[in-house]
């Protein structure tokens, strides 16, 4: 398969389209955790119960009352290969937990992959909306719409005091996790990020590297999300996060301006060196690739590099992960083989840009 075709099949809407402020905010995500009142939570549910939960959600999906044109396809974890699961995880459509540890785990995917509903993960149902750029409110209303439709035919576990009852008490109340993925190279290069992260934590928000819990921020991409789910309304949670994100956007913009003013040539040098590595290397590890991609994306956003599309960062961050590389190669690869493949894929992807001009 040609890389072009592979990408067109592999890329979700949030990677290829641009949203508001997408020079800094790569994507916005809303997740709602819901459970069905008549079944035990997935941690304790019997196989039979887990099966019934999946069946109930599948029936809902087939009943056809969905917003807009989005049709849902159900993907059952028992029916797909480990590599396919890994690809779904790398696209942030399902969690590693659903892929590896769930019983009768499944997910409903919309065609453009903006919606993904996980079934039998930690909770019975997790509705997720993933939108390009800074669109938290839009993603929230989209998730709410699905939630309302599901509630019409599925019996939710809800309590007046504790709201939506979730498997883990950290999610009780709204069951809402709102998050944004931000590219913050300016704050990193001006060494402000180490001061900013603790400050954000103090506001009841969580900052993480791109690949979830406990990992360092690869390629200057940070995920920021709310911690508290109970006691605040959904709108307040989202508004609080938005106000912090807006501040971060303006700080990142002024950091970029300051960099251009004070160390223009050094910055240009850094960007073109990174471009050189991506365009020419024959072996490249994830970490180095992530760093260079971050520099190149910054170069595109600041106008140093022209005629390269912006979504190259989003795309290659996802496509150069081990699962995708192996899917593209058509079979398993050892880590050293992946590094060679990764370098080849990046070179080829950059060549596509030149061809298109």
């Amino acid at each position: 398969m040609s890389l072009e075709r592979f990408i067109s099949q592999a890329v979700s809407s949030w990677m290829s389209t641009e949203g508001p402020d997408s020079d800094i905010v790569l994507s916005s995500r809303i997740r709602l955790a819901r459970n069905l009142s008549q079944f035990d939570f997935p941690t304790l549910a019997t196989n039979e119960e887990a099966f019934k939960v999946t069946a109930a959600v599948e029936e809902w999906a087939n009943s056809g009352s969905h917003p807009g044109a989005s049709r849902f396809e159900m993907v059952k974890m028992n029916d797909i290969q480990p590599l396919q699961k890994r690809v779904l995880v790398e696209k942030h459509l399902i969690s590693p937990h659903l892929a590896e540890n769930s019983r009768h785990g499944a997910c409903l995917l919309s065609e453009n992959e903006e919606y993904s509903i996980m079934v039998n993960e930690e909770d019975h149902i997790r509705i997720q909306c993933l939108f390009p750029g800074f669109q938290l409110s839009e993603a929230l209303s989209a998730a709410n719409e699905i939630d309302d439709l599901m509630e019409e035919s599925l019996d939710y576990a809800f309590d007046e005091k504790y709201g939506y009852l979730t498997s883990c008490p950290t999610n009780a109340g709204t069951g809402l996790r709102a998050s944004v993925m931000m590219h913050l190279p300016g704050l990193y290069l001006t060494q402000q990020i180490n001061r900013i992260v603790p400050a954000i934590n103090q506001l009841g928000l969580v900052v993480r590297g791109i690949y979830g819990e406990g990992s360092e921020a690869l390629g200057n991409i940070f995920q920021i999300s709310n911690q508290i789910t109970l006691g605040k309304s959904e709108d307040d949670i989202v508004e609080d996060l938005k106000s912090v994100v807006k501040q971060l956007i303006s700080q990142e913009r002024s950091a970029r301006e300051a960099l251009a003013k004070t160390s223009n040539i050094q910055l240009e040098d850094r960007i073109f060196r990174s471009y050189g590595i991506l365009a020419n290397s024959r072996i490249i590890e994830t970490k180095e690739a992530a760093g260079c991609l971050s520099d190149v994306r910054l170069g595109i956003d600041m106008g140093y590099l022209k005629d390269i599309s912006k979504n190259i960062l989003n795309e290659l961050m996802i496509l150069t992960q081990p699962g995708f590389l192996q899917q593209y190669a058509g079979g398993p690869l050892r880590p050293d083989e992946r590094d060679i493949r990764r370098a080849a894929m990046i070179r080829e992807r950059l060549k596509m840009e030149i061809k298109e001009q």
């Binding site: 009142s37 939570f41 939710y156 576990a157 005091k161 883990c168 008490p169 709204t174 605040k232 959904e234």
Partner: protein, 182 residues
Amino acid sequence: MICQECNQRPATLHFTNFSNGEKTELHLCERCAHEKGEMFMMNQGHGFSLNHLLAGLLNIEPALQPNTKEHFHQEEIIQCSRCHMTYPQFVKIGRFGCAHCYDTFKEQLGPIIRRLHSGNSVHNGKIPKRAGGTISMQRNLTALKETLGELISKEEFEKAAELRDEIRALEKRLAEQHRGGE
């Protein structure tokens, strides 16, 4: 020394607890200590996860309360009547077994929820149409009554009278729903 719990394996973990001036000692083997959910205190060497943190939070709570003399003995283990999850199990895995657990463990849950959610203890967000039943109407009613009080204190009686009619209508509808639901 033999583990007090299983009376089989040697006790490798020794607890001393002072509460209300009284000293209690407990000697356990690792397996029994783990089952009792006391592991958080000496959680070394294992991968540290959110679950461990949560388990820590859940476990600290009883120690802060007075009258914890019985803490170690736990003669009465609370168990959910629906999914059979016990409180020590919940502490260990940090997850509830079913929706009913929220009711079963409600006494222990209050402080935990407040701690996890910055002091908040009551849901203030979306209410589902069907499962929420009359909750949203009741919430609406409470809000209207508060406004009514404000209007009266500001001596805006005309507006207050309008609002009073609205409240009466809502109360009537609520009463009808209750009757209909029974």
